[in-house]
């Protein structure tokens, strides 16, 4: 009897050690991974690499930010109304189920498949060259599911008394949505958009065949219709992720390794800071709203 209890106790201790070791190993690996990228990246960060000249990364960084901004605009223009539709207009049942299924399918598509679709529709069928605009559209397709589901969650988490109070004052449905629900849900939707942006920075496979692998812009050219103008979205725009891919697979430049390291570090900083910002914002909101979720 006693030995059976002791055996069970030993087993329990042993398994606790196993789980502790497993979790510890995983955490150490992850920290080592980020630490390596950070040290490599910031160690090689020189004024030349951060410049906008040839061999610098300024243009790629600008392209990344610009592309994610455009993609956010597109995906919120379609995703937020689609979320409103799901939450406020669609009748519960078949319609909601179909749209939800669509959202889920979209969110699980491999990004290279979306990239091919973007290549076919935005490049081949419009007969244009690789451009930033097509890249932004492709990335916005990848962001759509997140933006839509965040909008739905934000609207559904509002107390029903907001709607009843508004209807009681004689407001129409659209007035209720536009004047009451959307302003109240705005911070949460914003959180979702920040999260979506964080994902967008890291996107590469969707951009390979849409945004193009080169960038040639001149910072003294402010004629938006010119292909050399930074702000013209209809020009090839290589992002940081594509730059890493190109550097590591083609390695044409002498300092390719250093550039790739710096790109990786910048990307991690961007992604982590955006995701931390979204987390902090939603934590703050939960506290303000009584934390009853």
């Amino acid at each position: 009897m006693n030995s059976a209890v002791n055996a069970k106790k030993r087993m329990d201790h042993f398994m606790t050690m196993v789980f502790f070791a497993g979790a510890g190993l995983a955490v150490i690996l992850l920290i080592a991974f980020v630490g390596y990228v950070m040290i490599e990246g910031f160690g090689h960060m020189t004024a030349k690499i951060m410049s906008f000249e040839n061999g610098g990364l300024g243009n790629q960084l600008f392209n990344t930010l610009y592309l994610v901004f455009l993609a956010l605009v597109f995906s919120s223009l379609l995703g937020v109304p689609a979320g409103i539709f799901l939450s406020e207009y669609a009748r519960k049942g078949k319609v909601v189920k179909a749209v939800r299924m669509a959202v889920e399918t979209l969110s699980s598509l491999p990004s290279i498949v979306v990239g091919l679709f973007g290549y076919l529709v935005f490049i081949v069928m419009t007969g244009s060259q690789w451009n930033l605009f097509a890249g932004a559209l492709s990335v916005s397709i990848l962001m759509l599911p997140l933006v839509t589901s965040v909008t739905v969650d934000a609207l559904q988490s509002l107390p029903d008394s907001y709607r009843q109070g508004s209807y009681g004052l004689g407001a129409s449905k659209w007035q209720t949505i536009w004047r009451i629900l959307l302003p109240a849900a705005f911070p949460r939707i914003m959180t979702g958009l920040i999260m979506a942006a964080g994902r967008g920075f890291g996107e590469a496979a969707a951009l390979m065949f849409t945004a193009g692998m080169s960038t040639d812009i001149h910072w003294d050219n402010w004629d938006v219709s010119s292909r050399l103008c930074p702000l013209n979205p209809f020009r090839p725009g290589e992002t940081l992720t594509l730059h890493i891919w190109a550097l590591r697979t083609e390695a044409l430049e002498a300092n390719a390794n250093e550039q790739a390291a710096v790109c990786s570090a910048i990307l991690i900083v961007l992604v982590v800071s955006f995701s931390l910002a979204a987390r902090a914002l939603s934590y703050h909101l939960d506290k303000k709203m009584g934390g009853n979720r």
């Binding site: 069970k8 087993m11 329990d12 042993f14 606790t16 196993v18 789980f19 502790f20 497993g22 979790a23 995983a26 955490v27 690996l29 991974f33 390596y36 990228v37 490599e40 379609l78 995703g79 109304p81 689609a82 409103i84 799901l86 406020e88 207009y89 669609a90 749209v99 669509a102 889920e104 699980s108 598509l109 491999p110 290279i112 498949v113 091919l116 679709f117 081949v124 839509t148 129409s172 449905k173 659209w174 949505i177 920075f201 890291g202 996107e203 590469a204 496979a205 065949f209 992720t241 890493i244 891919w245 590591r248 697979t249 390794n257 990786s264 990307l267 991690i268 982590v272 955006f274 995701s275």
Partner: protein, 307 residues
């Protein structure tokens, strides 16, 4: 007409416009995955309709020699890419799963709430790290390391791809598994302890079986991510167009084949048609993954375990 009636009229007009606009956006959103599916289907079936290859050749033949012309006549057997994808995914799951389960159990059952609040966000942060960064670190650190400890000619190998993918799917599976374990009612654990079970027995006989559904969902989501990942794999697998025979030799997957060759293949040719068929296969597979998750969710809720 008084100002009130005109305001009401305007409100009604806005109401109609808004309803139409919002419904249209909802419909477009729903149509996008269908559109993607239709386009992929149209492009992907060219291999079978225009170039008259049987489906069995695409799926089971290992002879890959498509001609880059509109006439066709090459061979489009993609079995080596399909087996490559399967091998890499299986390998990554074997590496990742023990660590995922250990971390999830540690977070939910062993760590104090404060520790958990530290570890879980850290793990979730890793889902967002760009895949090319994983690929870059894999190339600069993992591959020289592997070459040092194993007898392998290049370092670029199935094994390297499996390890990189394992790191990528680790956060996905861990988060899902931890969520599933958290939602197991505390009372069940207390009942188990009350019967004299140790913590390990409680975990093995109560928590894990109760959280099974969530864990399997996490595994499928992780596999779906691994299947669709292109660039990180392409950077470390070596992209040799052979069957995956050894862990230590290069191979190819569906995604690496597409990302490497689509840019150079002639639009409308047999080569690009074959690559589109692979993309169609990826689309169908990701659809199947979702379907499995749904049927599983139904299965587990029908059992009537009231949470």
């Amino acid at each position: 007409m008084t100002s009130i009636t005109s305001a009401v009229k305007k409100a009604h007009r806005d109401e109609r416009t808004a309803r139409i606009f919002i419904t249209a956006c909802g419909l477009i959103m729903t149509l996008i995955p269908f559109l993607i599916g239709i386009f992929l289907f149209v492009k992907g079936t060219d291999t079978f309709t225009t170039f008259h290859h049987p489906l069995s050749e695409f799926l089971f033949s290992g002879e890959w020699d498509p001609s880059d012309t509109a006439e066709g006549g090459g061979k489009i057997g993609s079995a080596m890419f399909i087996t490559g994808s399967l091998a890499v995914c299986g390998l990554s799951l074997i590496f990742a799963l023990p660590l995922c389960l250990a971390s999830a159990i540690f977070m939910t059952e062993i760590a104090t709430p404060q520790m958990r609040r530290m570890v879980q966000p850290a793990v979730e942060l890793f889902t967002g790290i760009p895949s090319v960064v994983y690929g870059f670190v894999g190339m600069t650190v993992l591959i020289p390391f592997l070459r040092k400890i194993f007898p392998m000619p290049f370092g670029f190998s199935l094994l390297a791809a499996g390890i990189v993918l394992a790191v990528m799917i680790y956060p996905t599976i861990t988060t899902m598994a931890a969520d599933a374990m958290t939602s197991v009612p505390q009372a069940w654990r207390e009942a188990s302890y009350g019967l004299g079970a140790t913590r390990w027995e409680t975990i093995a006989h109560v928590v894990l079986p109760a959280a099974k559904g969530g864990i399997v969902t996490g595994i499928i989501l992780g596999l779906a991510r691994a299947f669709g990942e292109a660039l990180a794999v392409a950077m470390v697998i070596g992209q040799m167009k052979v069957f995956p025979k050894s862990l230590f030799l290069p191979a190819s997957t569906l995604t690496t084949a597409i990302s490497a060759d689509m840019g150079g293949a002639m639009e409308g040719g047999e080569y690009s048609a074959a690559l589109w068929t692979m993309a169609l296969l990826l689309f169908i597979l990701s659809f199947i993954f979702i379907f499995i998750i749904h049927t599983m969710n139904d299965m587990f809720t029908l059992k009537g375990d009231k949470r």
